[in-house]
Every structure is written in C-alpha cells, then in structure tokens.
C-alpha cells in the first residue's frame, strides 16, 4: 500500500491534533493547582519608607573602637567570612581614608581632621545604581523604598556589578565562605562560592521593625531614616547642615551622606 502526499499530510495532521488534544485532557484532569487561592502581604511590624537614607556623622567616629564596633556587628549578623587576606576580603561596611573616599576633592592643605581621618564607607544605595543596570540576571535590583538589594539565588557571579560600582562596595566569594565564618548566625543565610555580596541596609531587620544593626551600635554616629519624609532626622540634618556625598559628579545619587563639620552634629 502506498499513500500519496495529500493522504500523508492529512493523517499526520490528525495524529498531531490527537496528541496535542490528548495531552491537554490529561493535564486538565490532573489539575495544575500551582495557583492556589492565596495571597501575599507585607508584614505589619515592618518599617516602611519611600527612600531610606543614612547620615554618617564623622564627629562620632573618633577611635578605632567606633569603627570596629559597627563593622563587627554587621559582619557577624550577616555571616560575612574573614579570609584573612585582602585579595579575597569580603566587606559590607569598612573604613577608608579621605583620599580614597572623596576622590574628587583632593586638596592636600585641607583641614587636618579631614585629611587624616578614616571614613566609614558602605554601599551607597544609589538612586541611579550602575550595578543594577549592569546585572544581567536582575539579581541586584532597586526596591521601591530605595534600597539596592540582592537576590543571592539569582547571582551567577559574573561580577559585572563589581566593575560597575564606583565605590567598591561589592565583594566576590572567590572561595567557599562557610569555613571562614567565625561564628555562624543561623538567622541569616551564608553565601556560596561564586556569589557577589554587599550591604543590604539590613532589609531583614527593617522587615521586623528594627533599625539596621550598624545604626543601633554606632552610638549616634549613623543616622538612618526616610529622606522623603520632611520631618525625619536624616532630612533635618541634610537640610540644615553641610553634608557631602561620595563621587557626586558621577550622577549615581548616593543615599549615604557624610556630615564632616567636626562638631556635635556640626
């Protein structure tokens, strides 16, 4: 028996229709219940803002302990490993000198307290974050409240964001971080090898209604609040005192402001 082209096409079409229809009936019977009748809500006790921002009052950062206390608490609650060498170093908040913090404002005859003083630096949570633009998987994204957050699940470790960030705020896990965490804090996940990490303005604490850990442990040196709220403390300081930001000429609009007057809330 031989069939011609027309018969062949007709039969092939019928078989294909049967196959497609059959698979639909089977899945229809099984009933994919992924979309269960359920919804999601934000937690009631969480702190909310339109634009979280931070003021670093440099008059409160005098001694080595002022810096270390803040750094220690951040790195311990977020399971930040200590590899013991600068090449692999992971840092969320750290100190750097004036020259490297405010690169555009080099003036070697500046006031001594500025030029010699180290500065507390961290992710600036820019309004125009270049890291977010660079990320090919949207693992780094900007939340509606202004925080530049990371979804570690999605990070593929390409490190484009590290190249894009003008502040060096991002670190890469070149090695498995787990054996290098001094004391594991089970409330926060660790990272794995091949993942970038950075400061997250303590989103997990804000969701529980707590201020960021560094702010709580800074003894007033770090002031945190909603920049869009005209009555907030950060807005009051930025509106009345002279503050500077890191590399404003790049147009990333950092949300971390430095109060450098030297006096009490100068």
């Amino acid at each position: 028996m031989s069939i011609n082209r027309r018969q062949f096409l007709r039969r092939a079409g019928m078989v294909a229709a049967l196959g497609l229809g059959g698979s639909f009936i089977v899945t229809g019977f099984r009933g994919k219940k992924v979309e269960a009748a359920s919804e999601y809500q934000t937690g009631q006790q969480g702190l909310k803002a339109k634009h979280w921002a931070m003021v670093v009052d440099m008059s409160k950062f005098k001694t080595e302990d002022d810096f270390n206390r803040v750094k220690e608490v951040c790195h311990s609650i977020h399971n930040v490993p200590d590899f013991g060498n600068p090449k692999d170093e992971i840092k969320w908040i750290w100190k750097d000198d004036y020259e490297h913090t405010f690169t555009g404002q080099q003036n070697k005859y500046l006031e001594e307290h500025l030029i010699d003083a180290p500065f507390m630096v961290l992710c600036n949570h820019c309004e125009n974050p270049p890291c977010v633009k660079a990320c090919p998987t949207q693992a780094t994204f900007k939340r509606p409240d202004g925080i530049v957050a990371m979804d570690f699940h999605r990070c593929i470790g390409c490190r484009f964001c590290m190249a894009a960030c003008p502040f060096g705020a991002r670190s890469f896990n070149f090695r498995d971080p787990r054996p290098f965490i001094k004391e594991i804090q089970p409330d926060f996940p660790t990272r794995t090898k091949g993942v970038v990490e950075k400061c997250n303005f303590c989103v997990e604490r804000l969701a529980e209604g707590l201020m960021p850990a560094c702010v709580e442990n800074s003894k007033g040196g770090l002031i945190f609040g909603d920049l869009d709220d005209p009555n907030s403390e950060v807005r009051e300081i930025i509106g009345t005192k002279f503050t500077i930001r890191r590399k404003p000429e790049l147009g990333t609009q950092p949300s971390v402001y430095y109060l450098v007057g030297g006096d009490e809330h100068a």
Binding site: I184, P186, A207
Partner: protein
C-alpha cells in the same frame, strides 16, 4: 545475513542484559520513601496541616517555595495567606523548619560552630529527595534553625 546467528544471539544477550533490572524488580513491592512527620512541633499542632493541604504540598511545594522566595526577597511581601485565609510568615528557616526538623537536628544545629558540613538537608527533605535522587541546594546557604520551637 553475514554471520547472522552470532549477531542475533549477541543482540538477545544485549537486550537481556539491558532489561535485567526491570525483570529482576518485577513484582516486588516498591517501599517508597520513608517520610517522618512525627516531630514534636507537628504533634503539638491541633490542626495537622502544612501551609496548604498535603496533596497540594506534595505536588507543588517547589513552586510554592519559589513563589515565597520571589515575594519575600524581591517584593518585600513577608506574609503568606493560605487558601483558608490563615497567615504564615514567609521563612524557610522559621516557618518550614519549625515543624520539619527533628530533635537531633536541632541539637546538632546549635550554631556558633562554623562547619562546612552543615549543608545537609533536614531528614524530612532528604527522605524524599534522596529517594527520587533530586538534589536540593537550599542548605548550602540556609541553615536549619538554632532553636526551632520558639
């Protein structure tokens, strides 16, 4: 066929060898995974149900976990309202493992000690996942809770 007999005999041996596991296991009952739901936290529950019905969880827990992850990490939605209108905090460590971890696991996970070998799945997850040889990577970052029954 050139050397037909040898080829056919070899083919029969080959097919017999390939299908050996199938015939060897034929008729034997499949034991299935041994899932232990008998943890103290579950026994204390009056309404012994997970965040959704057991049928739903069995079929769709992976999609639900993915949805939870998206909502919590990316959209800041930290509360899940289930189909019966009951709210749950979205947390792998504080919600899922509050029930699904054994006493021994809680004792082993006291925290404080940095142990790279802690990325073993809890027995509840492992019982099915080992059975079906589906590896989960949750535990290379997430921990079992230090104190599950708070």
């Amino acid at each position: 066929m050139y050397k037909g007999g040898k080829i056919i005999v070899s083919l029969i041996i080959f097919v017999a060898f390939l299908s050996f596991p199938f015939f060897y296991n034929m008729g034997k009952a499949n034991a299935g995974p041994d899932v232990d739901l008998n943890t103290p936290a579950i026994q204390q529950l009056t309404d012994k149900q997970c965040v959704e019905s057991p049928e739903f969880m069995r079929a769709n827990h992976m999609q639900l976990l993915n949805q939870w992850r998206e909502e919590s990490v990316r959209n800041g939605q930290t509360v899940y309202i289930n189909s019966q209108g009951k709210p749950f905090e979205i947390s792998l460590q504080d919600t899922c493992l509050k029930c699904h971890s054994t006493e021994a696991e809680k004792a082993a996970q006291t925290g404080g000690v940095s142990n790279p070998a802690t990325n073993v799945a809890p027995a509840f997850c492992a019982s099915c996942h080992n059975y079906s040889a589906v590896e989960v990577t949750c535990w290379s970052c997430h921990f079992e809770p230090k104190e599950a029954t708070k």
